[in-house]
């Protein structure tokens, strides 16, 4: 009360001031004077400063006196009215807020007054022209008024008591509010305020269905207008509040109990002949509705059947105008209101608004509302909705309507829980498949043209099992990813409803056998859809509750559904079909997709089958491994995921085990490919297998390698084929090295390689470790040298024998097959073997060593091949295998003697890209066979001087007569390829000099040095040995 008196003190002078003006005679009174405005304004400002809500009624009376007098004036200017409205609003807030402070009489007087003040005309024309601020003030005032009334004890009867004399004002007031709500430009604050006012009104003051039914149509159309506005123009809070009130209205007006309606199927028609009008479609099918008490009650009742018919149609129209749009906004609070609306309508007004029940259900479906489960008797309608959604699923695909797909999958599950229905299953699956294939046909053309990335075998081998692409799920390139995942989810939900293998098999079989004539694209989609159904159906068993899991889990997981096999078989056939179609031609986007889908289906099924899949690997492992060697990275990725998944399920994650355990099947498939001449695929797959599972695997199919050799016998003319096989040999050698040579050997070999590639040992050292290992290797080399000297005591013998053997080999080549009793043969072999075994030192088993010997033999032969890439590859392979062959010294020498000539010939080649690897190769030979090749090396140098193209590059003036006058010309600028070749040549020469120093005349060494110093720094050469140092010094000075 302290505040009260203080406030009174403060307001009094202002009121006095206003009174002076307010009580003026009508003829003097200037309704638009600024004086009046100022007076009002100062009161308004003062009042707005008060924060309390419990000022005394006296205070209100005091303030209201001048206001009342003011209101008695004929008219009032707009700003003044605005202020008056604000002041009244303040009074309502400050004094008339609490229960009992606003007596009914005052309120009853005040309400028409306020509505009139805000908008004197019924059509609110004037109001519409007012400023937003004015409108806001009006809205706030009405809201404040309703708030205050709602605190009073008479709130319920406020509008109905007293002979309904307030009803016209109420009507007007509501139109005002609705007009404010819809007034342009939209103002959020105004709209929200309006809505709050309406809410209080409908909820607390006029929550009477009969009463509200009169204002309902206006409300509905106003709300519908707001709700159907584009999302850009209307704020979500406004929408959700509007929806809230919309719901409130529906609930109040159409409440089944309140209306006393019940479902009936007879008689009503006779009573209401007018139901046959055009609006029938929108309105209730009134045959089903009976309004009890309609006849007995007084005719005063507004909400009769006719009314119901008319208004329910309007509701439906309104709903149709805004629901879809608002669902698409995907706004949480809007969705919540929509959901509530639908749920409330369905649970309270399901009979009276039965014409709209589909719409409401649709809303719940679209919003994936769990309310669906709480509603009784919606099965039929829900089914219809789902059916029509399935029929129109093509649209969803076209417009990427993931919401629609998601909600459909939700609804399907709900329906299934309520009422499992097999016919629904087939409808669902066939309509999905149909629309998907129609859709894909329409959009496939675009994708057909886009190019598939194809990679070479080198890339394939390098990257196999390295890439990891998270984007694995998507298989249908013509669908956006989220649409595909929604669709996939939908199909899985459909699948998840199937808890019985028989139905599952039936469903999948009907999908797969649907149309036998269909094209590949359709078949792929059938496969895709059925795979997802299968996966879905098995998800249920995993995610169902514990009890169910106990029931089903034990018996069901044991039995692999037939459909697993159907899908696998279908996929396999499809795969063969695609292979047949794509064989020999470039891979198209379509076939790429096809492979991916088949691989996916294998993976999914394997996951469902789990351990049972192991016995199926016999048929499917090749598809996977073949795809691992695909030139398309997409297919490779997919295959990789598939392989990993299978390895996880069956071989505790080891892909190597997966391959090793099934290498027999792989080899069979490869054999088949080799038989039918698909050597390219076969060699690639062999490479991948070898790379993935290591050398061990070679042991298991030596006869296939033998076949590869035989193919080389027959088709050595085809450079491509030979090249592929030599690439395969490269992998074999790498893997053999990994398997049989231990770590230290490995590092040694690695280091050797680096010497070769960098030209000269200390050059190209890139880090400390390399230097250390280099130093180590020097000491090792010394030790080795001592060893070898010992070992090679018998060398001259070997040499002689080598020639003997060579001669005999030639003889034996011509020999025809000799038949002989195998038993004797075998025994003699045994004898021989035992003798040899004592001498075997190499860590590489003889069998494997023999493969190397064969490779080097074929290398020798095929070096005559004109193909340059093949030559380069062969030289690379030979270089790589020399350290391996060197592990058995004696056996190394014959092949070296044999191949020397061919390689030396390559050094003479005019193509320097061949010269380079050839030189590296010879360097490697010298390194490993030491003085065995001394003579050859010396001879080769002479040949080189005569015929070599590369030496011509350095213009060595071979004028032996005037040694001293040789002009040393430095050719600083070589083409990169020439320079590389020269570096290799020089390194080779240095290596050769190292082993044959004593056999070379100084002249020859000098000649060699002329070549070397062109590309290698003299210091480096000089540091190689004292002798070379002398030679270099001699040349330079």
């Amino acid at each position: 009360m302290v505040a009260d008196s203080e406030a009174f003190q403060e307001i009094r002078p202002l009121c006095v001031e206003l009174s002076k003006l307010a009580f003026q005679e009508r003829n003097i009174f200037d309704s638009e004077s600024s004086q009046l405005k100022d007076a009002l304004k100062s009161i308004e400002q003062k009042l707005s400063g008060f924060q309390t809500d419990s000022l005394s009624l006296n205070f209100a009376d005091y303030v209201f006196v001048p206001i009342g007098s003011l209101l008695k004036q004929e008219r009032l200017g707009t700003p003044q009215t605005e202020l008056v409205l604000q002041i009244i609003g303040h009074l309502l807030r400050l004094c008339w807020h609490h229960s009992g402070t606003l007596n009914q009489e005052l309120a009853t007087q005040l309400f028409p007054l306020l509505t009139y003040l805000i908008s004197p005309d019924k059509d609110n024309e004037k109001l519409k022209g007012m400023s937003v601020y004015y409108k806001l003030v009006s809205a706030q005032l009405l809201k404040q008024f309703f708030t205050s009334v709602s605190q009073q004890s008479y709130k319920q009867e406020f509008f109905t008591s007293g002979g309904a004399k307030l009803l016209p004002s109420l009507g007007h007031c509501i139109t005002i509010l609705l007009d404010l709500l819809g007034s342009v430009p939209y103002d959020i604050k105004l709209q929200l305020c309006t809505l709050e006012g309406l809410e209080i009104l409908y909820k607390k003051l006029a929550s009477n269905g009969e009463l509200l039914s009169f204002v309902l149509p206006g409300n509905i159309s106003a709300f519908a207008k707001i709700l159907s506005l584009p999302g850009l123009n209307i704020q979500y809070k406004v929408v959700s509040s509007t929806l809230h009130i919309f719901t409130l209205l529906l609930r109040t007006v159409y409440d089944d109990v309140d209306l006393n309606v019940s479902e009936s199927n007879k008689n009503v028609l006779q009573l209401l002949p007018e139901t046959l009008d055009d609006d029938l479609k929108l309105s209730n099918d009134l045959r089903l509705i009976k309004m009890d008490g309609y006849l007995s009650e007084s005719s005063k009742k507004h909400r009769d059947i006719a009314w119901l018919k008319a208004t329910s149609a309007q509701i439906k129209r309104a709903l149709n105008s805004f629901t879809e749009k608002n669902i698409k906004r995907q706004n949480a609070s809007i969705n919540m209101e929509l959901e509530k609306m639908a749920y409330i309508a369905l649970s309270n007004c399901s009979i009276s608004l039965s014409n709209c029940s589909d719409d409401f259900l649709n809303i719940l479906v679209s919003l994936k509302s769990s309310y669906l489960l709480q509603l009784p008797n919606i099965c039929g309608s829900l089914r219809e909705i789902i059916e029509s959604k399935f029929v129109k699923i093509g649209n969803a695909l076209h417009f990427d309507d993931t919401i629609d797909l998601d909600s459909l999958s939700f609804a399907f599950k709900i329906l299934w829980q309520m009422e499992p229905d097999k016919s629904m299953l087939s409808l669902a699956t066939t309509s999905i498949l149909d629309s998907l294939s129609t859709f894909s046909e329409q959009s496939i053309q675009k994708y057909e043209k886009s190019k598939v990335i194809e990679q070479t075998s080198n890339v394939i081998i390098k990257t196999v099992l390295q890439e990891s692409d998270a984007n694995q799920e998507f298989l249908l390139p013509y669908l956006p990813n989220d649409t595909e995942s929604s669709l996939s989810q939908l199909i899985k939900s459909i699948g998840s409803t199937i808890d019985n293998n028989e139905i599952l098999d039936e469903t999948i079989n009907s999908l797969l056998t649907g149309d036998l004539k269909s094209n590949i694209q359709q078949k792929l989609l059938s496969l895709w859809v059925s795979t997802r159904i299968l996966v879905g159906s098995k998800l249920l068993t995993v995610t169902s509750t514990d009890d169910e899991l106990l029931d089903f889990g034990n018996c069901e997981s044991e039995v692999v559904p037939d459909s697993c096999y159907s899908i696998l078989e279908y996929g396999n056939e499809l795969y063969q079909e695609i292979v047949f179609l794509t064989e020999g031609s470039q891979m198209s986007k379509n076939s790429e997709q096809a492979y991916a889908i088949v691989l996916d289906s294998i993976m999914q099924v394997s996951e469902v089958m789990n351990k049972e899949f192991e016995s199926e690997l016999i048929d499917y492992i090749y598809i996977i491994v073949d795809s691992l060697a695909s030139s398309s990275p997409i297919i490779r990725n997919r295959a990789q995921v598939c392989a990993m998944s299978i390895a996880k399920n069956l071989y505790s994650g080891s892909i190597q085990n997966l391959l090793m355990n099934n290498v027999d099947y792989l080899v069979e498939s490869i054999s088949n490919r080799l038989n039918s001449g698909m050597t390219e695929r076969a060699s690639k797959v062999l490479m991948v297998i070898c790379k993935l599972s290591g050398y061990e695997v070679i042991d298991k199919f030596k006869d296939v390698i033998e076949t590869v050799f035989r193919l080389l016998d027959y088709y050595h003319g085809y450079s491509e084929l030979c090249l592929q096989f030599f690439q395969f040999f490269e992998i074999i050698i790498i893997e053999m090295k990994k398997t049989f040579l231990n770590e230290s050997d490995n590092s040694k070999i690695h280091e050797d390689v680096s010497i070769n590639t960098c030209g000269f040992a200390p050059w190209g050292i890139q880090n400390w470790t390399q230097l250390v290992s280099l130093l180590d290797s020097h000491t090792m080399k010394d030790a080795k040298l001592a060893e070898t000297i010992e070992v090679e005591i018998g060398e001259p013998n070997n040499f002689q024998d080598y020639f003997d053997q060579k001669l005999k080999e030639i003889d034996s080549d011509d020999e025809e097959e000799i038949e002989e009793d195998s038993d004797f043969d075998m025994e003699s072999q045994f004898g021989g073997k035992e003798q040899m075994e004592n001498k075997w030192e190499s860590p590489i088993p003889k069998e494997s060593y023999r493969i190397l010997l064969k490779i080097i033999n074929y290398s020798d032969r095929l070096l005559m091949h004109p193909s340059k890439p093949l030559k380069v590859q062969i030289l690379k392979v030979v270089k790589m295998m020399l350290p391996l062959l060197a592990t058995q010294k004696d056996s190394l020498l014959p092949p070296i003697a044999q191949i020397w000539g061919s390689i030396a010939e390559c050094i003479m080649d005019s193509d320097f890209s061949i010269v380079k690897p050839a030189c590296e190769c010879v360097q490697m030979i010298i390194k490993h066979s030491k003085d065995f090749v001394t003579k050859r090396f010396v001879d080769m140098w002479q040949e080189l001087q005569k015929r070599s193209h590369i030496l011509k590059e350095v213009h060595l003036n071979n004028t032996n007569t005037s040694q001293t006058s040789v002009d040393l010309i430095f050719h600083q600028k070589f083409a990169p390829i020439t320079k590389d070749a020269l570096i290799s040549l020089s390194s080779m020469l240095l290596e050769g000099i190292a082993v044959s120093e004593l056999l070379l005349s100084e002249t020859v060494v000098k000649e060699m040095m002329y070549c070397c110093i062109q590309v290698l720094p003299t210091d480096t050469i000089a540091s190689k040995s004292i002798y070379l140092g002398d030679v270099i010094w001699d040349i330079m000075h």
Binding site: Y565, E668, G677, F701, Y849, N857
Partner: protein, 461 residues
């Protein structure tokens, strides 16, 4: 490019030594799947699931002797003859525990689907190429025909009961058919041969046993039990038996000589003088036997049995040899029926409904159809380049260093499975994938060849 270089449809790789015998068994009640039993040069007996083409069972004969012959006796009984002069009979039993067995070489771990039990073993002369013949004469009781312990030109006959080692009885010892046969063929063109040579092959057809000899003669005999003769002696009711009585009296008074007698019911000289290399029961007529030799003939043999019961020698009609163990009807002539095939040196033969599989010495197995047209050739060739990993070897043994170029791996044994068309009975407890593979396998005929590199190939015909 369809190539001359082809690999077989399926290759079974497990043996590290030459495959010496292959036998397919389609006994779905016991084995669930068609299986292949193979033996190799180092004593490994392997049972394959031909559908999965995986090893199901490995048995290693101690000390790794070469396996000579394998016979499946039904009811999971496998008889195997090996170079350690032993015939073993293994009783297999499904082993649910699926023990993992480490086979000695290369530490290969093998899952064993079966347990085994050696239910009988008997020493058999294996210094030759012959196999053996086993006939079930009573439950768990078998009669064995094999080469004589000292001389492979004659045969011994034993009887034994399974699981009872001391039940072995020698019924006949060292029967040599030469004298009987030379008597019989005295007046024919080929009467000049001085011996039959060693037995090359036995083949039992019901109660008849065919023996193929080195000389190319094929003799078919059947076994006469002693009791039958004894009954004849004491029971004189039938007129026919009384004839025997007369015979006995007139020829020899010692009645015991007639126990365990062999009656030669068929002789073929079609391959003479080339050795018999293999015998096979005709798939079209189970009483007909086919034979192969080094020539291009496939002999066709069908013993004409006039009387399924005891056929007794009479004075005029029969020749009895000195050992009193062999009789033969005097009127029995030598058969020479054969068909000509486009290959020679057929080391092994298997008759199928759709034709024949002929394993040649040249390392090529030929499948001919019923008109002797070649349907398929199976072989495993080596690459043209042969390498020798050891330079030293050639120093020590010059003659060895001549590398013999054999283009093909040798064939040691062939077998085949007839396709059974589409009406295959559904097996229970089999996954649909397995069923499909089984159906697919059985829907075509297969030619199975064992090579001396340890591989067994399967090719559909």
């Amino acid at each position: 490019m369809a190539t001359k270089v082809t690999l077989s449809e399926y290759t079974l790789r497990f043996h590290k030594d030459a495959v010496t015998d292959v036998k397919t068994v389609v006994d779905l009640t016991n084995f669930k799947v068609p299986v292949l039993i193979s033996g190799d040069g180092s004593g490994k007996l392997v049972i394959w699931n031909v559908i999965t083409r995986r090893v199901q069972f490995v048995y290693e004969i101690p000390k790794s002797p070469q396996i000579l012959a394998i016979e499946y006796l039904g009811d999971l009984l496998v008889a195997v003859l090996s170079k350690d002069h032993k015939l073993r009979i293994l009783q297999l039993q499904l082993d649910e525990s699926k023990t993992l067995v480490k086979t000695n070489e290369q530490s290969q771990i093998q899952q064993q689907l079966y347990k085994y039990n050696i239910v009988f073993e008997v020493p058999v002369n294996t210094l030759n190429f012959a196999n053996f013949s086993l006939e079930k004469i009573a439950p768990e009781e078998y009669r064995l025909v094999c080469c004589n312990t000292q001389n492979a030109e004659s045969i011994d006959i034993y009887a034994f009961k399974l699981n009872r080692l001391n039940s072995l009885k020698r019924l006949n010892k060292g029967i040599n058919f030469y004298k009987t046969v030379i008597d019989l063929l005295r007046n024919t063109e080929i009467s000049k041969f001085d011996k039959l040579g060693i037995v090359m092959k036995f083949l039992r057809v019901n109660d008849l046993v065919y023996c193929g000899f080195e000389s190319g003669i094929i003799i078919c005999f059947r076994y006469k039990l002693r009791q039958e003769v004894m009954t004849t002696k004491y029971n004189e009711t039938s007129s026919k038996q009384s004839k025997l009585q007369e015979l006995i009296k007139s020829e020899d008074t010692d009645i015991s000589i007639y126990e365990n007698m062999l009656e030669i019911v068929y002789i073929s000289t079609v391959h003479y003088p080339n050795p018999i290399l293999d015998l096979s029961i005709s798939a079209k007529d189970e009483e007909t036997v086919l034979s192969s030799s080094t020539d291009s003939k496939i002999g066709i043999h069908k013993a004409q049995i006039t009387n399924g019961n005891v056929s007794l020698p009479d004075n005029e009609g029969y020749i009895i040899d000195d050992s009193k163990q062999v009789i033969v009807r005097k009127t029995l002539g030598a058969d020479t029926s054969f068909v000509e095939v486009p290959v020679t040196e057929i080391g092994s033969i298997k008759s199928l409904k759709c034709g024949m599989v002929l394993g040649g010495w040249n390392g090529k197995a030929i499948v001919v159809d019923n008109n002797n047209e070649i349907l398929k050739i199976v072989g495993r060739t080596k690459s043209n380049i042969l390498v020798n990993e050891s330079a030293i070897r050639s120093i020590q043994n010059d003659s060895d260093s001549i590398i013999k170029m054999k283009k093909n791996y040798k064939i040691k044994a062939v077998d085949g499975i007839d396709g059974v068309g589409t009406d295959i009975s559904q097996l229970s407890n089999i996954s649909r994938g397995d069923q499909r593979r089984l159906d697919k396998f059985l829907s075509s005929s297969w030619c199975i060849v064992g090579f001396d590199d340890g591989c067994i190939t399967l090719d559909s015909i």
